[in-house]
Amino acid sequence: MTPFPILSLVIFLPALAALMLPLVRDDRAIRWFTLTALLLDFALASGLLLAFDSESAAMQFRESYDWVPALGIGYKLGVDGISVLFVFLTALLGWISVLASWSAIQTRVREFMISLLAIQSLMIGVFCALDLFLFYVLWEAMLVPMYLIIGIWGGDNRIYAAFKFFLYTLAGSLLFLIGILVLYFAGGRTFDMLALMGQPYAFPTQAWVFVAFLIAFAVKVPMVPLHTWLPDAHVQAPTAGSIILAGVLLKMGAYGFLRFSLPMLPDASVYFAPLMIALSALAIVYGGLLALAQSDIKKLIAYSSVSHMGFITLGLFTFNMNGLSGAVIQMFNHGITTGALFLFVGLIYERTHSRDIPAYGGLIKVVPLFGIAMAAFLLSSMALPGTNGFVGELLVIAGAFGSTGWAAGAAVVGALIGAAYLLGLYRQMLLGEVRLPEGAKMWDLNAREIACAVPLLVFVFWLGLYPKPVLTLLRATLEQLLAQVIGTGA
């Protein structure tokens, strides 16, 4: 019996569209074509989410073909509660990125859209892959379109930022590859992730592989002290690049911990948990303090990402249900909220060509719709009750109290610092005297921009007020994961 290969379709639809783009005639048609393809992909991903059976912890919609049988490499796909959520998030941010670049990208539109479609395929593929080799190929191939997006369409210092992004991530990824190969030989010459999980690897093997994975994922997350590429990449990237980077690429690191480190290396995960928690606490506070000192909007949000990602890694290594589900929800939230913030920075930059916070004031009076929506995202980012951020942060902090009290304290401090810089940004830009950078041409949100913002707003409040569907979706998967870590690790 071969069921319909729905995952392959979701993965390859954008890639096929990218192959067809060279045949599309002008820029306008290219934009519409890309948008259609990604909307279609989004529809498929939504269908996937609806058809997903959240009662089961098993991988669903599985596909399995031989790829390089001599080495035990297969083309294996499948999704569980975690990955189906991120496939959905990726597909959602995909078409929003196209809309966000509609007028912002005027040069080499064709190449831009090809890169965007390519990275979309690769990211969805990463979340669906059940074969380590396939995962690694997609994971590393992702660097290429992102490198081009930053390098070609970025700001003034884009070349430096693109190089830094690429080399940092590449160095980390290559260590990841070595770790994969060590696991491959220790686990009986297979790249099948499910077969590699739950095998009793010797502790020294686990520890070394954990360190290799840690470096790769820590670069991607990014965790302090490997975070320095992020502000550069974010500041220089075009809006769509920032959205994808913050929304999906950063999640890859945390996803790696969830998918590999915890279930495959449970002993080492428990052994290294204090280190991970300490690094997370450090990231939360240090990232927050850095954000507090920024006057460039994008830099501020970039450093706030470092802080918020700290919450996620903290939640992952608490090894309890609250912490884990908080971390996964926070991953999703951060994708929505930070993606939205970068989108709004992009929108304001299109109008004023300035990212200098002190140059702005009273925006809510000039562009009320813009101001209100941005305010909502800022509040969500600082985890105001009723928004999605609250649910995630609360769960993580609750989880941390259940394992390491002082780290929970650090998280609370981090949340307070977050409130300080986000409210500061809110007050300075949106309230007070009307102040605009010179040469600004202001207009309120147009239909296209509203279309980008509304779905993100819906998720902010939906998850904030009624997070149950997502929690249900994750429960079975996370319970199984927890059993894999604690069951053998304790």
Binding site: L170, L177, I178
Partner: protein, 504 residues
Amino acid sequence: MDTDLIAASVRASSPEIIVIIGACAALMLSLWPHQDQQKYLTWLSLITILLASAQTLQLSPRPVNIVETTYSGMFVVDAFATYFKMLLYLGTALTILMSGKFLQTEEAVKGEYYVLLLFALAGTMIMVSGADLLIIYIGLELQALSIYVLTGFLKTRGRSVEAALKYVILGAFSSGILLYGLSLIYGLTGSTQLGVLNSALATADLSEPMLILATVFLLVGLLFKIGAVPFHMWVPDIYEGAPTPITAYLSVASKTAAFAVLLRVFMGSLIGLEPLWSSGLAAIAVATMALGSLVALVQDNIKRLLAYSSISHVGFLLLGIIAGTTSGMSAILLYLLIYTFMTLGLFAIVILLHRDVRAGEPLTLFSGLAQSHAGLAFMAMIFLFSLAGIPPTGGFFAKFYVLVALIDAGHVTLAVIAVLLSAVAAWFYLRLIMLIYIQPAEPTTGSTAAPATGPTGHARAAILLSAPMRLVLLFSFSGTVLSGIFPAWFLAMARQASLSGLGN
């Protein structure tokens, strides 16, 4: 001697005979002045290679583990040799195809060029089929002498002549070392035949100083030919000075043949001496990768850059020998195949971009290529990412398989060093991609308003893609991409070929 044996020997060496006949025919043809002479010569050479490859395939051993030894044990036809010969045909044929345009640009069209390339091919074929150190040496010299002349083929260009002179001197020096190693081996064992050596050395005392000296000399001579550190000094100068298609040939075909010899000698008959050379070779491999990657960072001539890049690839290839297993050997075989595709593809683009005879090949040749020639730029990008080892290109799978073999043999530390150095190497490939995609070719007015639709309206004059060039690009591009996406088929070929290499 039995006539049957002679007939069998001639039959076994028929591909070499075909190539040499073809070379002689090309020599005759080059004496006949005609305006289409170059075209005829190209065709003649290609047909020769096609015939030889058909003959090689027909002689290919079935089942693959059969080893046919002829000429009283001096010449061998096995899957290993067949694989390498096909690789050499590919490399040489693509070199010939890309030469036409270059020779016209340089106004150096001469018939001898093709003749010499075919002789070089015959030399490399003898190298990979040689089962006797002397035969291998003769093949190596035939190849080397042809390439010396080809390196200096641009008689009016100082750098070309200088490169040829350097190459002759250093090449003769290294051949001398190799030959001295051979004579010592002969003195110790009384034979130069690989099969005999194998059993003679199986019981040898490894602390015997003469044996150590012989091994070192043999190894040094061969490392010279592949350009491993510290015997790499000739590589950048000669790569830069030689005509670009010859540079491509040097970095692909000659290196391939030298690796075949290295594998057959050191992993075949001298495998018993492994304790003598394995740790030294590991140090050499690391040094080669490090020097190649680091020095490439500061190059501003594209051919010098590719020279250092090829040095770092040699370092990576040597890791397969250090693994010392069958999978290490097949990793090298696979790597060489994929390396042939991506390197020749990139060189073809360098040739296409090279138009001004005096300007040389600065890196800026590549700048703005994406805006004037989107297709070529895309291919160049794929070749460069493949050389950097980024998936899903062939270059990634090649490196991946070397790492698999290395870790399987327990050399995890070496693998870590290797990947970190290849991250360094990625830097200069990225720099070229930056030039291609970001820097404009000429200062254009109103850069934001310039629409990038198609290869029109830009400063760069249109590049004329001749049919042979298209063929080269098609071959190398599809080879690079397919070996990355469907590696299973390429892998199976390499694995089959390497099994018999260890058996003799």
